[in-house]
Subunit: 355 residues, 2 copies
């Protein structure tokens, strides 16, 4: 494993109360940084005290959003150790995001090594209360001090870490969602399959409107036909219809989620029929009204599994599984979180011990 030089913070900050952690607001003592420059490539990987980065006002990222990110977690296992969940998948997706955004890709093993070394250094920051974890945010952005619209010649790759609370501190409660029919998150030929900032910026308005109307999130439709379901909020989405699990296929505008992939692998290993295909809102609401939509859930790193209890679309309103979390949804949640926190065996080799 590559080892990067460490400049230690003069003192460790006080740890926040693990019972009241808010997502992404508290950061650990250190961060990883690495620079890119045309001709030199990626260089000078290092761990330094967490703190502000001086930014030129003309830095490209502030104008043209040439930026991508990843998200994963480190988990405290029952033996007191710390482990990651499929970090190479994040490193590979970061590479794919970089390529679409014309950012020079970072060697995936270097990304995993940097994450591992940083988490090892910050191991005291991985909380041990049930459901808590250390959220890890790798991100890359363009730093050229120039306003020309083209790929930057310089970039910064950073990794920061934030202890986060249990997503379901008050138990898993299925959420209400509705089909968004005005705003579009992504379109084929665009950047929907990447984790680039622009996708998230474009999604904020619909999320805010959903919240105002008492919904937790929106169900996104494709931008071309406005009829195929793509994602729910910033998660992938799955439905169990008449015994078969269906999920939108990766057409280029859907994020290839790592929790999505893990769910599909688990379901197949359990012998549950799965289909990755185009799914219309029409088909879904028809199935629900015919009593065939058995379960529905979102998948993502933050929530792992987010059961959907109610859905609205063009005046139609359906309740899924009586508004309760379904058995399959629960089994997926228990299995993935069990593997992540090391409370059940990991026959898939998904976890990577850090310390």
């Amino acid at each position: 494993m590559q080892e990067f030089p460490i400049t230690r913070a003069p003192a460790s900050k006080p740890k926040p109360d693990p019972k009241t952690l808010v997502f992404g607001k508290t950061f650990t003592d250190h961060m990883f940084l690495m620079n890119y420059e045309t001709g030199k490539g990626w260089h000078d990987g290092r761990i330094v005290p967490y703190g502000p980065i001086p930014m030129e006002p003309c830095a490209m990222v502030l104008h043209y959003a040439q930026e991508v990110f990843e998200g994963l977690k480190a988990y405290r296992s029952p033996d007191g150790g710390v482990q990651l969940f499929r970090p190479m998948e994040n490193a590979l997706r970061l590479k794919s995001s970089c390529e679409r955004l014309c950012i020079p890709a970072i060697d995936p093993q270097t990304v995993v090594d940097a994450i591992t070394q940083l988490v090892r250094l910050e191991a005291d920051w991985v909380p041990s209360e049930p459901g808590t974890s250390l959220y890890i945010r790798p991100f890359v952005f363009a730093t050229d001090p120039s306003l020309g619209v083209h790929a930057s010649h310089t970039y910064l790759f950073a990794i920061i870490c934030s202890p986060v609370g249990a997503y379901y501190a008050e138990g898993i409660n299925p959420v209400r969602i509705y089909v968004e029919d005005e705003d579009v998150r992504a379109v084929k030929g665009g950047t929907g399959f990447t984790k680039c900032g622009g996708n998230y910026a474009a999604s904020i308005r619909a999320s805010e409107r959903a919240e105002e109307q008492g919904y937790a999130q929106v169900l996104w439709l494709d931008g071309v036909h406005r009829k195929y379901i793509e994602e729910v909020g910033s998660m992938n989405v799955m439905f169990q219809v008449d015994g078969t699990v269906i999920t939108p296929t990766l057409t280029g505008s859907v994020l290839p989620g790592i929790t999505r992939k893990s769910c599909l692998e688990l379901l197949k290993s359990w012998g549950v029929p799965c289909e990755e295909r185009l799914i219309t809102a029409q088909e879904l609401f028809d199935a629900a009204e015919a009593g065939k939509l058995e379960e529905a859930w979102g998948t993502g790193t933050a929530a792992v599994i987010s059961p959907i209890g109610e859905m609205g679309w063009e005046g139609r309103h359906v309740v899924v599984n009586g508004g309760e979390i379904g058995a399959l949804t629960h089994k997926l949640y228990d299995t993935i979180t069990g593997i992540q926190w090391g409370t059940i065996p990991d026959p898939y080799g998904w976890t990577v011990k850090v310390c």
Copy 2:
């Protein structure tokens, strides 16, 4: 006019040689800053020395690209004064961009006042060589130190200025473009009508590929049907076909350009028939092959007018006006630049004297 407090730079930087200015690389001595905070609104507008802005690594703009910008210029007129071109149009478009991105809008008059005061302070930086100007870049970005995906509660509005050289230092030469058929810049329901960073990030790959193949830019097709022409590079586009000027209508995925608007107003005042409507690539290439495509040009703040000399699409290749700039294209360029630099009268009230 609102006046903002000024903290002067201790010394003025040396001015670059106006003959070798590169776009967006040199900045003036001062910048304008203003903060937003939920509950306080936009406040603390001020002019300070130009320099790095300390940025939290978790600042929202670096992750979710909640950011918008504008671009306009200050021109040195023959009497030695300095003037702006339709600055209120930029301020209004900034408001529209902010609204789509869930950024609290800034009062347009405040934006114009800030631009005016900053340019007045930096008047020595407005070059006077032919074709040179002072490029003005207002921009707004989300600064919340938090990784949650939602609208930020804090923002920074900044204005920076850069002296720029003549766009056509070696004369106006028509460019070669081709129709992009893989990547999509924007789609209806997305953010195409705004100047948000994500649009530009999504466009970089196609522009790089075009350059590699010896083209100056790409002609973007709509993301839904992949047949209607939308923009050329980061400019609006116009064609004269059989005596009528046609330009893509503002369907939501096309930027409402201020040069575009000015061209249409001029053409109408000259009695040239104009149509804002959907235009297919098919129609355009058919017209060209039938000898009816008389002129073609892009419109934007940087180039003002960029004549198109050749176009490629699916193996078809057409030359426009023998590869020479057309008479109408030239007249538009001469008129708009004449008004901007104050060398001809401005009967439209487009220019605003700064000093």
